[in-house]
Amino acid sequence: MNPSDVFRKRNLSKVNFEYEELIGRDFSDSNMKGVNLKNRDIHNADLSCTDLSGADLSGAILFNVKMRGADLQQTNLSSAKLWDADLYGADMRGADIRGADLFYADLRNVDLSNANLSGVNLRHTNLDGAVLESTNFERANYDSDTLDTISENAKSQLKKQGKRW
């Protein structure tokens, strides 16, 4: 077994990650419900199809992470650095994403219903096919690339609440 694979397909919800090096690790298909990864550096990690619902990832460095199909319901991602992250198809209903940096992130087909995206950086974020019901975009930064990927309804919502960069 590859040493980076020891966290794959595991129940890690009660694990204390305080002394673990997490950069580039493979956590795919694991249960990480409610874990505390606040302010941790987890860049390049694989969290595809991982259950991170209710977890605290606030302030975490998450650039280049793979979170395809991850369960991020009610997850705290406030102020997280999610540059170039792959969140394709993730469930982010009710997530707290305030002040996060989603520069160049792939959020295609993500469910962001009731998520709080106030103050986020959405420059060049791909939201194609994303569900944006009751999503809060207050003071969110966006550019023409962001607008090109969303529906007319969501476009007017984003224009009304956010700030064009």
């Binding site: 860049h43 460095i61 650039f63 280049n64 540059w83 550019d143």
Partner: protein, 50 residues
Amino acid sequence: MQGRKDEHRHQELLKEKKELEKNRPHGIDEMRRWKHDMGKILQELELYNK
């Protein structure tokens, strides 16, 4: 003449953007630089979208 020059710069920026997309770094400092460089390109490209 101005229009041709602008179009030339536009094409140059698109090319630089493609290059950066192909060369994504993995280290934190390189990624910060990547983000900064890409941000500058997007900022200039945004002028062509207005």
